[in-house]
């Protein structure tokens, strides 16, 4: 309790105020000693408990406004173990980033720590078994800090001379090649792609054990390699390279559960970026399908994460994905792909906006802008500044470019909603008549109809044409014929569900003992 009152002193929010890096409270001592022991004993369960619960509660009690004790201060309690110290510092920085804004020096030190940590892992000398949650957090944080660094560096106007000198001197820190090559090296060194291939043939187990190694080996390199594929997807999306991003994810089959679904943060990050990239590639149906699935999943499981440190992040991504779903459905109105629960949530949040977005006027256009800006990743410019006077901020450049190009696409599809409205009510109509209704001339109408066809037919990664069309029509000479697509009734699924339900009822009945 003493601590609480101390922490609330005015001015205590500064990182350094009253912070003694060498002071180690007993609970921290006990934390590192036990954590170190559990790691040596490969007790994943206990490690996970301490990582998820104790770290959080100690942070809340003692380190709300200051960093954890320095690594040097705790090293003597853990035999100066090199790897443990690297792990401790990784958490130390993560805590710092989450609660304070790091200085440039701290950003550079954190980069150095990741280099040392990944180096050790890549050399295969780590013989630990760490919880997936922790390994995911490492990759996630690594990419986050990279993105944060790029944003920070791009705000050149407010840089002091000292900061600029430091930036020039440590130009390797958070260098984009370094970041990408670490992730790539983890993927390659772990041979995770081959492991996933071999697993399909039943030669090895990976997914079945959630990536853990129960034969005395270590899961660290393998699982880090696995999560690095998702890290690469995310970095490429931040750079606007959606094609390459999806390619990096390809070894993971997202139509099924996998290690990526074993950690909620990884599950959400994967689908969010997959969906966003698909949206930018005009693969709307893919985007809608995956957003629908994960939003339903979050809806059903939200309550179990309420106490988790990631809860806020989960809610935020949840909201962003509803916005992206609203965009996808406005461009490609295929509501039957969306579950009822998700749909009613969506109507509640964006029903009104979606109606206006589909009108294709300026107001609708502004809404696309608004939703995209709210829900897009934090795009980055990866190159270093030129350091030439006058110093300019360029942290918004990447975002502005992606937004502009996306709105370009929206504009190209602007006239499609009008044509949809008419084709929904006619089964046959002549070009001339429809042109009059739409107040355009016949050649223009032909281009609108062809645009509809082009925009609703995506090219998949194998070059195959797939239809995202919500309406099927064709033109025969100068007649448009609309072919009604019957809503597909999913009898099969319905019966399967009823069979399972019935079985449940029967076994309940069986359990009743009549005295």
């Amino acid at each position: 309790m003493d601590y609480d009152s101390q922490q609330q002193k005015p001015g205590a929010d500064s990182t350094t105020a009253g912070y003694d890096p060498n002071y180690v409270p007993d609970s921290v001592k006990s934390f590192v000693v036990h954590m170190y022991r559990h790691i040596r004993e490969k007790n994943v369960y206990e490690i996970h408990q301490m990582y998820e619960t104790s770290f959080q509660s100690i942070s809340d009690r003692f380190f709300k406004d200051s960093p954890w004790p320095s690594v040097d201060a705790v090293a003597l309690y853990v035999d100066n173990d090199h790897v443990f110290c690297l792990l401790y510092r990784e958490m130390w920085f993560r805590h710092l980033y989450a609660r304070h804004s790091p200085t440039l020096k701290q950003r550079i030190d954190s980069w150095d720590n990741y280099c040392s940590l990944f180096q050790v892992v890549l050399h295969g000398v780590v013989n630990m078994q760490l919880p997936n949650q922790w390994l995911w957090d490492m990759v996630d944080e690594f990419v986050y800090q990279f993105q944060s660094f790029c944003q920070y560096r791009a705000k050149m106007k407010s840089k002091t001379e000292q900061e600029i000198t430091l930036l020039r001197q440590y130009d390797q820190a958070w260098n984009v090649y370094g970041v990408l090559n670490f992730l790539q090296a983890l993927v390659e060194k772990s041979t995770i792609i081959q492991i996933l291939e071999q697993e399909k043939e039943g030669l090895v187990q990976f997914t079945a054990t959630d990536g853990y190694d129960y034969n005395g080996g270590s899961n660290v390199l393998k699982v880090l390699g696995y999560f690095s594929m998702i890290g690469l997807l995310r970095v490429h999306c931040l750079l606007g390279d959606y094609h390459t991003g999806l390619k990096c994810l390809q070894p993971i089959d997202i139509s099924q559960q996998g290690v990526y679904t074993s950690v909620i943060g990884s599950h959400i990050t994967t689908i969010y970026h997959y969906g966003f990239a698909s949206l930018m590639l005009r693969r709307y149906v893919d985007a809608i399908r995956e957003f629908n699935k994960i939003l339903l999943y979050i809806y059903k499981t939200k309550q179990y994460h309420q106490k988790s440190p990631q809860y806020e992040q989960i809610l935020k991504k949840n909201e962003q994905m509803y916005a992206l779903l609203a965009i996808s459905l406005s461009l490609c109105p295929q509501v039957m792909l969306v579950e009822e629960t998700v749909n009613s949530q969506l109507r509640e949040k964006y029903g009104d906006k979606m109606l206006r977005m589909q009108r294709g006027d300026d107001e609708g256009f502004a809404l696309y802008d608004e939703l995209f800006s709210y829900a897009c990743p934090k795009f980055i410019t990866p190159s270093a500044p030129t350091y030439e006077e006058p110093l300019v901020n360029y942290n918004q450049d990447a975002y502005r470019l992606q937004l502009k190009l996306f709105l370009y696409e929206v504009k190209q599809q602007q006239l499609l909603s009008g044509v949809r409205t008419f084709l929904k009510v006619y089964s046959t109509i002549s070009l001339g008549k429809l042109a009059t209704y739409m107040e355009v001339d016949e050649p223009t109408l032909r281009t609108i109809l062809m645009t509809y066809k082009h925009k609703t037919h995506a090219v998949d990664s194998n070059g195959k044409i797939t239809s995202n069309a919500d309406l099927n029509f064709y033109i025969d000479d100068d007649m448009i014929r609309v072919v009604e697509s019957k809503p597909a009734k999913r009898y099969g699924d319905f019966f399967l569900r009823q069979i399972v339900k019935l079985e449940g009822v029967i076994s309940d009945v069986d359990r009743i003992k009549l005295e």
Binding site: L239, T447, T451, D477, V500, E503
Partner: protein
């Protein structure tokens, strides 16, 4: 239109060391290495002269430019973009633009290419051909440009039309008169086209049927139940 790569086949491997790595291999082994930048630039020129195409190699190059903007060659970027236009209906042109800094896109030749792409994306072929004619100096640098765009136009027409008036076809592919007769004849012989005499207005061309212009041909896949779903009730059935 060939999206396939020109990577050498295994039996070409005996060739001496200089060619021991194809550019495709370089890209897959070393995707984040600035040293391969000159190779990738040469490879763009090679794609132009040999009429081949590799999206992944070109994206890799644009990515490297993004990391070191001072090395951007606008001539190479222009070639990549023209190649990307030729790859339509694939979204390659946008994929490239996403990676090109906005200030570079402000250059006159890129503005022109963006306008051309806009016309193609919105199927305004008349305007496209007019604009392309004014920009010969840009697009003529890449052989096969016209044919590639014609192939795209025919792709969109085939998604849309069962029977198309000759004049509409002529406008979309920018071919008229005798050349058009020849073109149609070729398609009759090779691509399953057919001709029908219209009553008053002249020729109608019947485009080959596919599931997009004959929606009733579309196989209904939704009726099936995937095995995984059935597998869920195996324990009960057993």
């Amino acid at each position: 239109m060939g999206r396939e790569m020109v990577s050498s086949t295994p039996n070409q491997k005996q060739q001496p060391s200089a060619m021991s790595y194809t550019v495709e291999q370089l890209v897959s082994v070393n995707p984040y290495n600035p040293d391969i930048l000159p190779d990738l630039e040469n490879y763009v020129n090679e794609q132009v002269s040999s009429q081949t195409y590799s999206l992944s190699a070109n994206l890799c190059l644009l990515r490297l430019y993004q990391f070191v903007p001072e090395r951007i060659s606008t001539q190479i970027v222009a070639r990549i973009l023209i190649k990307a236009l030729m790859a339509m209906p694939a979204p390659d042109f946008s994929l490239c633009l996403f990676l090109i800094p906005e200030r570079v896109q402000m250059e006159e030749q890129f503005k022109t290419l963006i306008v051309l792409s806009h016309y193609l994306e919105t199927a305004r072929f008349r305007q496209f051909w007019d604009e392309a004619a004014k920009s010969r100096h840009i697009v003529d640098a890449v052989p096969g440009f016209e044919q590639a765009i014609q192939a795209y136009a025919i792709h969109v027409l085939s998604l849309t039309y069962q029977r198309i008036p000759r004049s509409v076809l002529a406008e979309a592919i920018n071919i008229e008169g005798l050349s058009l007769d020849k073109f149609i004849e070729h398609q009759l012989a090779n691509s399953g086209w057919a001709i029908e005499k219209g009553q008053e207005k002249g020729q109608l061309i019947i485009l080959p049927s596919n599931e997009f212009n004959h929606p009733e041909l579309k196989k209904s896949t939704v009726d099936g139940v995937p095995l995984e779903h059935i597998a869920r009730i195996f324990p009960i059935l057993g």
